[in-house]
Every structure is written in C-alpha cells, then in structure tokens.
Amino acid sequence: MSNILKVTTPTVGYDNSINNKPSPSQQAEDLSIKNPVEANKVGRADGRTESGNNDGGKGVAYDSNFGSFVQSLRDLPKLNEIMSKMIFGGMANIVESGIGKGTAADIQAFFQMLEMSPEKLNEFLKAQMAGANRLQGPLFDVLRQIMDEATTVELKAGVLDLLKKYNDMSSGKHILENIKGTLEEIEARMFRNDRDGLERLAMRLKQHSMDANAANTRLLKEQIIPYMGKYVADNRELGKLRDLVTLVAFNTARYESGNIDNVVQAFWRLMDFPTFRKHFKGMTAEGFREMLLNVDYDRAAGKNELADKLLNIMQAGVKGEAGIENREAFINVMRSMLVNESVYMPLMHVMLPVILDGVPMFSEMWVDPDEESGNPGSDERGVKLLIKFDMKDVGFFDMMLYYEKGKIDMLIHYPEELSGHESDIRDNIRKIMSRNKLELEYLGVEQNKVPIQVSAAFPKIFERRNSINVTI
C-alpha cells in the first residue's frame, strides 16, 4: 500500500519545469530600473535578458503550455469555492439579478433535481463518473486487457489508432460545432463580399450524423477550406485569420478521421493479430459497425437532464445575463473546469452538486483509477481518490483514499467545529468500511488546517510522469 499520509508537494523545477521562474504577473510588476548587468551588452531597462541564465537574473519567461497550466492551477479560484456559494445560496443572487425567464426556470428545475437521498446519490455519482471518460465499458475493458497482453508495438499502436478514431467519431457532433464556431469567427474578419460567400457555403453543412459525416467532410475539404485559402492568399491575411483557417483544417481532419468506415477499418485491421482476434471471436466488420450505430454517443458520454440544465445556466451566466459580477464567477467556473480537463491533469474529475436529504453540498473528486502503489519494487496498482466536499452548516472536508484489492488507506480532514467528535468519526468510518466489506488498513482523522492540494495528492502532475508534451 502506498504511504498517502506523507503527502508533500514535490519540489518542482528539476525536470525542466518552469515553475521556479517568476510568473509573468510578477515580472510585470517588477519594472524598477536596474543597472546594466553587463557593460558590454545593451540590456533592457528592467534588467531582464532574453535567456536570463547567464547572470542568474530574471529571464523573459517564454512560458510553456505546462507553465501556463501550473499558473492556472495556482491562480484560478477554486471551483468548489464558487460552486458551493452558488449551491448554498440557491443561486438567489443570479435570479435576483433579473436573469431571463427560461434560465430562471432552468435554475428552479436544476435545484429540484439536486434534491436526492443517499441511494439516489450513489446512482448520480456513478453517472457522473461514467460521464467523465468515454472509454469505459466492456469493449474498452477488453481493449485495455489487449494492451496489457500485447507484446508488439504494432498491436499497441493499432489499438490506440482504433481508440483515436473512435474518440473522433463519438465526438463528431462536438467537432462539427467547433468548426462552425470557427467559421463564424472567420466570417467576422472577412470583407463583406467574401463573407457572404463563406456564409452560403457554411450553411450547406448538414446537422451531424453518421451519414452526414462524409458529405460534410467533402464540403469542407473541397469547397470551404479552398475558399478560405484563396481569401488568405488574395488578401495576404497572414495573421489571426490564417490561424483560424488552420484550426478549421485541423478539426476537419479529426472530423474525417471519425467517419464510421474508418473506425470499422481500424478494427478490422486489428483482427490480423491473433492476440486481438481471440478476444473478438466471431465478430464481423458488419457486426462491429452495427454495434457502433446502435450507440447513443451523447448519452454514453454522460448527457443527462441535470448536466444540460447546469450547462444552460452556465451559458446564460457566461453571456452576462446574470450581471457582470456573476458573469466573472461563471467564467471562472468554466476556466476551472477546463483546467481540470487539461492534458496535464491525467485524472478523472467529477463534480457533485447535490442537496442531500435537504442539506446542500458540493463535492469535487479527482480520481486516478490506475495509480501505482508507490511501494518500492511493487508493480501493484490501485485507485486513488481525492475528495473535497463542503456541506452547508457542517463544514469543509478533505478526504484521500487509496484502494487496492479490497484494502483501503484513508485520511480525513474534518472542519474545526467537529473537533470534539474525532473518536465518533473514527468509529463510524470503521463501521462504514466494514459494512461495505472494505478492509481499513489505515485511518487518519485530523482537523483540517490546510486543504490538500490536488498536486500534493497526485505528485505525478508536477513530476509529469504521464502528462503529454504538447506544442502548438
């Protein structure tokens, strides 16, 4: 079992991370005039140099994307702070601000849906978990098993290729929405005559469906992208507009890759590998295609009424329908959610806004279902969770769990008000674990002094053990 009790924030910066560099905001503030560092060289008025490493002084921070992520992680207000406020107050301030009738009705319906019993919360939690990752279910369990068994790079690459195409296919609607959004942005930057032409072409894009994929791809590749390319060339538009055209081309490639025929082909190619074939005995290409056609991808990705209502409320909030102050809160919610879905955060993130037996509560969870045990020489893996929850009139809790083969290590930080109940908490947690047939190997119950940071609970975020190096 891993030692989850000695959580510390690892020292950052030893792995080429830029965390030890000052943030742009700090640098911006430090504009005091300094003497030139080197007499032979023309320096900047603020003493900064391009490289910043020849004299130990501050360099111009060309932040990496990972640097921006770390910055956001530190600077962004915590999602639970804003959401708890909204849930505890019943979004009263938003309703009072004169939000549209439809959104007010959404808020009312949303709060009705949030009311649930512990039994219903269990279902809700599972639904939220299922909606946090598309690659869940029996098909993907088999593919995971094949990845473990695979001895050749070709098979592993083939499985990943299939998954990539599946991802693109299941996100087809979303990708097309992104393309349409980018086209609108491009139109806004074009001269009128050309804009009208692009608008006419864009209107010919069909609503996304498996059948419409090929026609839409053809239209994008053969007419829309060349039209925009010609505009860029004719008008020497080499700035933002050209970047947007590149983005459309990139998304078109993803959209095309998500064509059902490509997914079926990728699957069928894998049938050449005996390791793969033995898991899909009797499966035909046609059978696989039928299976894909019968999936409701929105539902499979976690679409539900509650999520839609929350998104509608957020949409209205971000647009500023609930006033400027609330708009900023909503934008912060949006950005916090994006940071949690970052490629640098290789964890599942789940939000649980509920009114549990009449008590409003907001909980956030970060889950690594495939965490290394951390014991030297051990290749055992388990599930690690960091759970934060704020219960109205009770307080804010932090919980860390590590589960492995029916055994569990647990650390609970309770709010100050419950300091007289520590032994009661201990006893009841033991009872809960034994009732659920979990063997509690370690239980730490402490008063919450400093909230556990996500990066401290999952040091691999900063160590970048399985994050992706993305360059744009």
């Binding site: 269990n122 990943l160 990539k164 299941s170």
Partner: protein
Amino acid sequence: MSQYDDVMNKKAVALRYDENKDVAPVIVASGLGYMAERIVEMANENGVPVYEDNSLATVLTQLDLGTAIPEELYQAIVDIYAYFLKYNPQKIKEAEEAEAAKRAAEEAAREAENAEAEDEAAGDGTAVGIGAGTEGGAAAGKAAKAASGRTAKAASGRTAKAAPGRAAKAARPTVAAAKAKPAGKAAAAGKQKQK
C-alpha cells in the same frame, strides 16, 4: 463552519479573471465526456482559446482513466457523505425532536397500557357489580365509576376505545412538533405503537 458561509456576499467571489491577460490556450484532452465538450464549446464561443489534443499519448492516458472503479468504493463514499450529514444543526435538531417524540410516544403507550390495565380492573369490578347487583344497573354503574375514576361510559364496557384516545392526546404535542420538522420516523414509530 463552512468556508463559504456568507453565501449572499457576492463580492466575496474571487474575481481573478482578466480577459486581456489570460490569452494562453488551455490544452484539454480530446474524447472527454459530454459536459467537458460542452464547456469547451462554451469557451470557444467566449473567446477563451482551447486546444483539444488527440495525440496517441492522450488517448492512452484516457484509456487508463477508463479503468473500472469497484462498486463498494462508490457506496462507501456515499455512506461517508450521509454520515457527516448528521452534524448539520438542522439534522441535530430534527434528531432531538424525533427522539423526544419517540420518548413521549413510549411514555404515552406505557400510560395507555396502565390505563388499559386499570380499565380491565374496573371492568372486572363492573361485571362483579352487574352480577352482584341484580336489583339495579344504576348502582352497578356508580360502583364502576368509582372504581375506574373515569366516566360511566368507559365503565360500561367501552374502556378499550377510551384508553388509546387518552394516549393519543398525551402524545399529540410532540407528534405535532415532529410533523412541523419532518423526518420524525421515531414519532411515526411511536404512533404505530399506540395503535
């Protein structure tokens, strides 16, 4: 108490968003859930640059994250949430009221039992009286009234009806209190006991 007690204090919302400063794109993994995709669309609409990475490395990470989580872990987490609910002042009050209602109901039930026993004793007396006073029912009625200390009606053999009525009356204020604050399971149990 909660970190966020002052829910109506809008100014306390951290306003760190700076449209002009925050221009670095957020790089999210592709193939996320429905909610995340809608958030990405929302961000795009509102000028927050988002790049969706669909590299094989990202797909591999996503595949790992799809590993199934044991069922018992979900239930344990929900049980922990439910356990901490009991520290909510409202719930403490409700539990105390329910406890009080339960105690009152038990008390009332005990009283009713005692009353029933008394009635039975009084009933025996009536029977004896009726049996003994063959000459007049009025005398027997008087004797029964004296024996039970209650009305002649009860004495004339309807004791069973009268006793629960009394018990219910005794329990009424607490039951009403439990009704005012729901979740008075104990009170309901007490009621059943009375019946």
